[in-house]
C-alpha cells in the first residue's frame, strides 16, 4: 500500500507546486500508515530537491513526447496498480485536472477535486475537505472506495522542509502508448508566477478608470514580486486579459496576500478570493462591501495610495 504523488515538471525542472504535493503525500502517508512514492513523466533534472519534503522515492515513466494526456493517464494507472497505491494525489492544476479523471476511472477510484486538507480517518472512513460554492463554504467529503484519488488546491498547506537527502529513482516498467492527440505549441508568459500558484497577488478593478492607468498596479506587483489579477468587469471590457480575472466565474485563488485596488467587492468577486490569508483593500468608497472581508483597509484614492505603497515597499525591501 502506498500514496502516489504526481510530480509536475516544466522544462525538465520540478514546478513549485510539486513541493506542496510531495509534502502532502508524505504527510498523508503518515496518517494512513503507508509510504509515499512520487511519479514523474519524462526527464527532470532536480528531483533530488523533493527530498526536502520527506520524499525518498520517485518512479519515472519515460516520455513518448506526443503528449496525449489519455495515454499518460493510462500509464499512471498501471504504475498505481504495480505499487498497490491506495491514495493518488494530483495538483488541482491544468495537468492534474486533465489526468485525474481517467486515472480514477481506470482504477475504479472515488475522487474529490480541489481539496485543501490532509486526510483524516473518522470511524474508519477516509475524509478530506474542500472549498465549495466557489469558496463560500467548506465541505467534508467521505470517499468509500479502496483506492482514492484527489487533486490538491495550491497554497493549501505550507511544507516544513528538512535537509535534502538521497532520492531513489526507479524506472517504471510501463510505457506510454501513442495517442491520437498531438501538442502543436505551448505559449507561456515567462517570468511571472501563474495566478493559482501565486503567494502574492495585486488586483485592480473599475476604479482604475482605464487600461492606460495600470502602470501603477504593475509597478506595485513588480516591487512586491506579485502576480497581477483583475475583477470581472475589467476583463469583460477588455482592459485586462481574461486569464487575470479572479472571482466566482474566473480563477479562484488562495494567496498569502491579496491586495485589491478599486474593486468594490461584489459577492461574486469575494467568492474567488476570500480564502486569501491576508486581504488589503484600497477603495475611496467607505461603503465598499470589500472592507468587510478585508484584514487591512485604506479608504482613499487609489491613484494616491498605490504609488505611496510601492515607495514604502521599496524602502522595506532595501532595508
Amino acid at each position: 500500500m502506498s500514496v502516489l504523488v504526481y510530480i509536475e515538471t516544466s522544462n525538465s525542472k520540478i514546478r513549485k507546486v510539486s513541493y506542496e504535493l510531495a509534502y502532502y503525500g508524505v504527510q498523508a502517508g503518515k496518517t494512513l500508515d503507508m509510504g509515499c512514492v512520487g511519479i514523474v513523466v519524462g526527464d527532470c533534472e532536480d528531483l533530488d530537491k523533493l527530498t526536502s519534503c520527506g520524499l525518498s522515492k520517485v518512479v519515472k515513466i519515460a516520455s513518448n513526447s506526443n503528449g496525449d494526456n489519455g495515454t499518460i493517464a493510462d500509464a499512471i494507472a498501471e504504475v498505481a496498480k504495480n505499487h498497490s497505491a491506495s491514495l493518488l494525489v494530483f495538483g488541482h492544476s491544468s495537468i492534474g485536472k486533465s489526468l485525474m479523471p481517467r486515472v480514477a476511472f481506470q482504477l475504479n477510484a472515488g475522487s474529490v477535486t480541489g481539496i485543501n486538507s490532509l486526510p483524516s480517518i473518522d470511524s474508519g472512513q477516509f475524509q478530506v475537505s474542500k472549498g465549495v460554492f466557489s469558496g463560500k463554504a467548506i465541505a467534508t467529503y467521505e470517499i468509500s472506495t479502496p483506492i482514492k484519488v484527489v487533486t490538491l488546491m495550491g497554497n493549501s498547506l505550507k511544507p516544513s522542509l528538512v535537509d535534502e537527502s538521497e532520492l531513489v529513482i526507479e524506472e517504471a516498467a510501463v510505457s506510454i502508448a501513442d495517442g491520437s492527440v498531438t501538442i502543436k505549441e505551448t505559449k507561456k508568459e515567462e517570468g511571472t508566477v501563474p495566478l493559482p500558484e501565486a503567494e502574492l497577488v495585486v488586483s485592480a478593478g473599475r476604479g482604475m478608470k482605464g487600461p492606460e492607468n495600470w502602470g501603477i498596479i504593475e509597478e506595485l506587483a513588480t516591487v512586491l514580486g506579485a502576480t497581477t489579477a483583475c475583477s470581472r468587469p475589467v476583463a469583460d471590457i477588455g482592459w485586462r486579459p481574461h486569464h487575470e480575472h479572479v472571482g466566482q466565474t474566473g480563477v479562484a485563488i488562495r494567496p498569502n496576500l491579496y491586495i485589491a485596488a478599486g474593486i468594490s467587492g461584489a459577492i461574486q468577486h469575494l467568492a474567488g478570493v476570500n480564502n486569501s490569508k491576508t486581504i488589503v483593500v484600497i477603495n475611496k468608497d467607505p461603503e465598499a462591501p470589500f472592507f468587510k472581508a478585508a484584514d487591512y483597509g485604506i479608504c482613499a484614492d487609489l491613484f494616491d495610495v498605490v504609488p505611496r505603497l510601492t515607495e514604502s515597499l521599496k524602502k522595506f525591501k532595501a532595508s
Binding site: 493517464a73 485525474m100 480541489g114 466557489s134 491576508t278 483597509g297 515607495e311
Partner: protein, 246 residues
Amino acid sequence: MKILVCVSKTPETTAKIAFKNNDSEFSEDGVQYIMNPYDEWYALVRALELVEEQGGEVVLAHVGPATNDSIIRKGLAVGAHRAVRIDADPSSSEFVANQIANHAQGENYDMIICGKETIDYNGAVVGGFIGAQLGVPYFSFVSELTSTAGTHTVTRDIEGGVEVSEVSGNIVLSAAKGLAEQRIPKMKDIMMSKRKQIEVISPADFHTTAKVVKYELPSAKGGVKMIDAENMDELVRMLHEEAKVI
C-alpha cells in the same frame, strides 16, 4: 456535426449559502437557480456556432428531476435543438458523468462539451470522466476551438499560458472563458423553445463513491484595520510583522 452539451443547475451567483439538517445538506430556502454559467455562456454557444457553420444539431444533456426543466428550456431558448434529461438526482460528478456517458454510448456524438466546472461544487471532472468512459480524448479548460472535416485544433488554458493541440475524431472538452460570447435569447426564441423536445430517460445503476458528510461556513474575519493613506510604511510594517506575508 452532432454535439452534446452538458448543462447543470447551480444556485445563482449572489445566492446566500446556508445549510440544514445538522449542516449535512445545502439549504435551498430562497435560493434562485440558473444554468451553470460556463455551460450556458461558453459550452452551449460554441456548440451552436459550430453547427451554424457546418450543419448538424446541438443536443442538451441534463441529469436532474422534472423540476429542472426550466433550466433545460433556457438552453433550448438559447438555441439547442432538443434535450435529453436523465431523471435522477445529480448526486456526484461521477454519477452525472456516468449517466451522460451511458446515454452518449452508441449515439456517436462528434463532440461532447461541458462547462469547465460548476460554480457550486467546483469539481471540474465531469468531462474527464465522460471521456474516460467513452475512451475518447478529453481537453480541459478550452478557450479556443476550431474544427474542420473532423480535425480539431484545441487551445486550452494552462498555468500562465495556453497549449494548442490537434486531434481527429470524437472529442470531449470543457469550456472556459474566451471560447464564445454569451447569447441572450429573444422572446421569439423563448416561445419556440417550448415546442422543442425534452426526452426523459431513466438512470442506470451506479454505486456512489464519494459524498459530502458535512458543510461549514468559513470563519468570519476578525474585522478590518483601517490604515491612514498617508502612512503606507505602517501597512508594510503590519504586513511584515503581524500578518507575516512579506
